[in-house]
């Protein structure tokens, strides 16, 4: 009881009682206190468990709602390319195009965000003066708070015509547009965590490198970044987790065509966008309804794997730190 001690120190000590204790403590009160503490501990334990229970609940919901889809739709149908359950002619449930779209947009975003984010993190950790860092870091973190629907709007109004003009194509609502917007969304995560990782590299490593005659650039690229690599990879994985599950931005900015994309200048329709578009109108309990849960399940497994890998890497990184 830290609170008790400080209080006792401030006031003059009460005299010892018959049991050799100070103050008005009674044994019964101790027992009540212990019980209360145990109660509080279990309350917080329960709170900790809540997230695990929710996770297990979501997993089992997706699984149990997705499973009935296989009664009407053959497994091989999901391996086809086109997703068009409301077709005029024949409903198709292929996950090919939407999975390729999701992966294209996600990895495309990383192709942009990783170099930029890493450079920014290295600048913040190694070169920027403390003053500049103090200003820049909060600003970058504010970037993380921009609502995705606002970014989607920017995608339509700003990025769309820019891409159209740059590549001489009729419109810029395509995978590249989504990549750029998702890169902006995942940048704060990548910068913030990578900067922490780079700043955590012991100064002695760098001093040793510089003492051996390496330039600052050589030290950064061959010593500092490799030492911080696990932290940097974890930050990239977390940024990727953010990008892969993003819905509103890609729904607005990528054109949502059903066709299998052949390049980054083709319109794409991601898994998240498909669920968002169709879940509102699908007849409850139909094959289409359950098939949407299959998409959700596949997406969940994908993000789960990304988070798992990043967690394992982060764990390793913390061990190395210790």
């Amino acid at each position: 009881m830290p609170g008790m001690v400080s209080k006792a120190n401030k006031s003059p000590l009460p005299p010892f009682n018959k049991r050799g204790m100070r103050g008005d403590f009674k044994p019964g009160r101790f027992r009540w206190q212990k019980a209360k503490e145990r109660l509080i501990a279990s309350f917080f334990f329960f709170n900790g468990m809540v997230s695990i229970i929710i996770l297990a609940g979501i997993f089992s919901l997706l699984f149990s709602e997705g499973l009935p889809a296989f009664k009407e739709i053959h497994f091989s149908d999901f391996l086809q390319s086109t997703w068009n359950p409301t077709s005029y002619v024949k409903a198709t449930y292929g996950l090919g195009a939407i999975m390729v779209s999701t992966l294209m947009v996600t990895f495309g975003a990383l192709l942009i965000a990783v170099p930029v984010g890493l450079a920014c993190a290295a600048y913040l950790a190694e070169i920027a003066s403390p003053r500049v860092r103090e200003v820049l870091k909060p600003i970058i973190e504010i970037l993380a708070g921009i609502p995705s629907v606002v970014l989607g709007f920017l995608g339509i109004v700003v990025v769309n015509p820019l891409i159209a003009r740059a590549f001489g194509i009729p419109n810029g609502l395509n995978a590249l547009n989504g990549c750029i917007l998702l890169a902006i969304m995942s940048l704060p995560t990548i910068i913030s965590l990578s900067e922490d990782a780079i700043a955590a590299v012991p100064k002695t490593h760098k001093d040793a490198s510089l003492a051996l005659g390496a330039s600052r650039w050589q030290t950064l690229v061959r010593v500092t970044i490799p030492s911080a690599l696990s932290g940097i990879i974890a930050s990239i994985m977390l940024g990727m987790g953010r990008a892969i599950g993003e819905t509103m931005t890609v729904l607005m900015a990528t054109g949502n065509a059903q066709a299998m994309p052949h390049s980054f200048l083709d319109a794409v329709r991601t898994m998240t966008a498909t669920i968002a578009i169709e879940l509102g109108e699908v007849p409850f309990g139909s094959a289409h309804y359950h098939a949407l849960f299959v998409i959700g399940f596949v997406l969940f497994v994908m993000t789960f794997l990304v988070n798992l890998v990043s967690d394992i890497i982060l764990q390793k990184y913390q061990e190395v730190e210790q």
Binding site: V157, P170, N256, E278, E281
Partner: protein, 305 residues
Amino acid sequence: MRLKNRIIMSVVGLPAITLVILLILTSSLSLAAGFIQIKGSDTEVNAVQRMAEVYMQRYKGAAIAVTGGGSGVGIAAIINRTTDLANSSRAMKAQELRQAKANGVDPIGIVFAIDGLSVIANPANKVKTLTLDQIGQVYRGEIKNWSQVGGPNLPVTLYGRQPNSGTFIFFRETVVRGDYAQTMNQMNGNAQIVEAVKRDKGGIGYVGVGYVVDDKGKVTPGLKILNVAKDRNSKAVSPTDVKNIESGAYPIVRPLYQYFDKANRGKVDGFVGFELSPEGQNIISKQGFFPVTAEYRRYNARYGF
């Protein structure tokens, strides 16, 4: 000790208090007698919103909330009893009616406006008219270049709505009569199609006339409404002229529906009556739609409107 108690109190107590307050607020809202919730079609949302504003000014104490989301969303809401009125730009499907019945809902649909679906293109494109058949071929992906319909040598970019839209379904059933080409960009609402076609010289899109014509009948700058002919022998006409809608010369016309539960009629009766009154129909014309034609006035009369 006291401090700790207080912290625990606030940890447990605050959310509990907020919850209670929220419960009271929501229950009082839904209990308010005049509160009408309207959900559904993005095509109808602006016109209905406008009528609701006028209605609320007229009748103090009336409260109406109008939201969009697409016809499918509105119909799902009427089936699940989460809305009083569902805006829908298509009739309810047999399967949806069955689901409603199974839920104990008896949906009644009235037609409160007529919509001419306009086919839009970029003004830089010199094509002015298309037949219904040609539009179908374009959207099925069989015509890929504007030169195939007498235009410049420019690839066609297709813009359409998303499958949760009544317009998407209506256009597919009446014009495309097949699957849309897979390369069609599925846009999130009328306004996005308008924006996209404005920026795309080879673009073609379909939107409600209300979205491209202002209340004086002028077409939105940067856009062109194509004249459409029923077939090769008919004259191509514009949907901006009321006469073409009433005479049936313009082929892509649809009734705009509102659905409500029969048991809930007393609640929505006043507002629906206002929509069909001359004043309501006048607002509908100003919003770029067309007043209910004689055919659908007879349809509404079956339900006493």
